[in-house]
């Protein structure tokens, strides 16, 4: 799969309270969470962002709370993926589990500027900066993980596999 979109750049150590403030966690509806995505970093963010846009950030993206609401809010806000120098471990796992593609590349995180158009080939991990004519390499996910992300996350992936197996019986 190829992701393509305009980038929105944030700094290092973006925590899950910034991604989705706890004051909005009295619901777990993706659409409701999406309205407040990145609100404390940029109150206008969800109004400015377009379907398929990409978040680019520094080290330790998604640190703090274990709330799965964080990747859910990003995905539901229409963002196609996140590129960062590194990810906090619970966020990393949660993003994949809910089917939000994420890419680790310190070079991309440093060189991509706010508003650049970027294209990412999920199967090779190659990130192409269309605005600057540069490419950066992220480690691609193994095929099963790409399938899992495509399926929409761990649960639909497992359910889909169970369905396939059942249909063979």
């Amino acid at each position: 799969m190829i992701e393509k979109g305009r980038t929105w750049k944030f700094g290092k150590d973006v925590d899950t309270d910034v991604i989705i403030p706890a004051r909005y966690l009295n619901t777990s509806e993706p659409e409701a969470l999406a309205q407040h995505c990145m609100e404390d970093a940029d109150p206008e963010f969800t109004r400015k962002v377009a379907q398929g846009d990409i978040i680019v950030a520094g080290k330790n993206f998604g640190c703090g709370s274990s709330r799965e609401h964080a990747p859910i809010a990003i995905k539901a806000a229409g963002l196609s993926c996140v590129i960062a120098s590194s990810f906090a471990r619970i966020f990393y796992r949660n993003a994949l589990n809910i089917g939000l593609p994420i890419f680790e590349s310190a070079e991309a995180a440093e060189k991509i500027q706010q508003g650049d158009m970027v294209e990412i080939d999920e199967s090779s991990g190659l990130i192409t900066n269309l605005s600057r004519g540069e490419t950066y390499q992220a480690v691609p996910f193994p095929p099963f993980m790409q399938e899992l992300i495509k399926a929409g996350g761990l649960v639909p992936y497992v359910a889909g596999k169970a369905g396939k197996q059942a249909s063979h019986v």
């Binding site: 150590d13 925590d15 309270d17 910034v18 403030p21 706890a22 004051r23 966690l25 009295n26 619901t27 777990s28 609100e39 404390d40 970093a41 109150p43 080290k59 330790n60 640190c63 703090g64 709370s65 274990s66 709330r67 799965e68 609401h69 859910i72 590194s86 906090a88 471990r89 619970i90 796992r93 949660n94 589990n97 809910i98 996350g153 761990l154 649960v155 639909p156 497992v158 359910a159 169970a162």
Partner: protein
């Protein structure tokens, strides 16, 4: 080759003799837990898995502590989703309001987290249980759903960092909170990312269980997968009074491999303050006394235990909270609350002018019971000082230990306990 305590616990739960860092394993779980924020998402995913039952009714814990007692209609609905699920699946460790406490204070107190356990929780501070010598780590709701269904989870075996505290020349009023803030200040909020933090040495051995819970609780604030302290006599004394099932004590081998070993003289550590907006922004309290504050919070899964309340009462007894300060105290569990009442701790705090709440996470995550307005500053014994953590995005949170919080409540600014003691 020798193994660390974390490696030994993971190996045992994966049915292996040996594991090494980086290895992917599938491990059996002794306990899975969630709260009113994370459980509703997990329950939604659990239902999609098509399982009729949780893997073991006695090994699932559901605690309505974040926005409970229900702060608004939406929170009430979230809590109801969890309550209905707990009743339907006859989850044994569901704690209703009145029995409930902050999950990471409550579950160890109830004897549900034991040495040698492998535990996942849909809450990042699940790492607290490392204080009893368990491997415990935070996960998201989907992982929790799978754990509730299967009683298993996959892990990448983490590398370990060792933090060895030596010496006995303690600064006055230094506790577990100061040790962990000092470490986070040293290594940063991603200094232990994906790794295990093992705490050891005579400095740790001399600390009470309450202080050890505080240390392991904040391992996540350095990005760690888990924090852990090998059990000793103090641990076993704590556990024996509570355990209702078997447990196993593990210790690291002397030839275990560590990615890095930090040796810290306890004499180096003064009472710490973490400045906004990251727990790594630490300074000694004596360099922080210029900061005027509006609110002081004493409580949370980090510092809501009996000794924390006792320390606050020791400072506040016979004194008054500054007239421009709101002091909010949240005992961690009903048992802690009752003990504090029996000892006159609560009376001393209320007499001084504290508002005492029923157990809840409440203001720690900006939920309820003490939200900050624009521009306000809070000094808090909680664990995070991120932007907007306790309320308005332009409010500020400073982190500290309970004695510093109490002294500051009296003086209306960040203050050392020595200024009032």
């Amino acid at each position: 080759m020798g193994m660390t305590i974390t490696e030994k616990i993971l190996a045992a739960h994966a049915g292996l003799d040996q594991v090494v860092p980086g290895q992917l394993i599938n491990a059996r779980l002794d306990l899975v837990l969630a709260n009113d924020v994370t459980a509703p998402v997990a329950i939604k995913e659990f239902k999609k898995l098509g399982r009729d039952n949780v893997f073991d009714r006695s090994r699932v814990a559901l605690v309505p502590d974040h926005f409970a007692p229900n702060k608004d209609i939406q929170s009430a609905e979230q809590c109801k989703v969890m309550r209905d699920f707990a009743r339907q699946h006859e989850v044994e460790n569901y704690f209703e309001i009145g029995q409930m406490g902050i999950e990471h204070c409550l579950l160890p107190e109830q004897g549900l987290t034991l040495p040698g356990d492998c535990i996942i929780g849909a809450d990042s501070h699940t790492c607290t249980y490392g204080a009893v010598g368990a491997f415990a780590t935070g996960v998201g709701s989907t992982d929790l759903a799978a754990g509730m269904a299967t009683g298993e989870a996959w892990f990448r075996v983490p590398e370990s960092l060792k933090f060895f505290f030596y010496g006995d020349k303690w600064h006055h009023w230094v506790g577990g909170k100061d040790l962990i803030l000092f470490v986070i200040g040293k290594i940063g909020v991603d200094g232990a990312r994906y790794q295990s933090m093992e705490f050891d040495g005579e400095g740790i051995r001399s600390l009470s269980m309450d202080n050890r819970f505080t240390i392991c609780n904040m391992a996540i604030e350095a990005g760690a997968k888990n924090g852990i302290i090998a059990p000793d006599e103090k641990t076993l004394e704590y556990i024996k009074a509570r355990a209702k099932r078997d447990y196993k004590v593990y210790k690291s081998d002397t030839d275990a491999k560590y990615a890095e070993v930090f040796e810290i003289d306890v004499a180096e550590i003064e009472p710490q303050i973490a400045f906004p907006h990251l727990p790594e922004n630490t300074r000694p309290v004596r360099e922080s006394t210029h900061v005027k504050i509006d609110q002081v919070v004493i409580g949370s899964c980090t510092n809501g235990r009996l000794e924390d309340l006792q320390a606050a009462a020791q400072i506040l007894r016979g004194r008054k909270v500054h007239k421009e300060i709101r002091l909010i105290v949240l005992p961690g569990t009903q048992q802690i609350y009752r003990q504090a009442l029996a000892e006159g701790v609560i009376d001393a705090l209320v007499e001084a002018g504290a508002a005492v709440s029923t157990p809840t996470c409440g203001p720690c995550l900006g939920g309820h019971m003490g939200i900050l307005a624009k521009g306000e500053k809070a000094l808090s014994t909680t664990n995070r000082n991120f932007v907007g953590r306790m309320g308005h995005p332009e409010s500020e949170v400073y982190l500290c230990n309970p004695a510093v919080a109490a002294a500051s409540a009296i003086l209306g600014r960040i203050a050392s306990p020595e200024e009032v003691a």
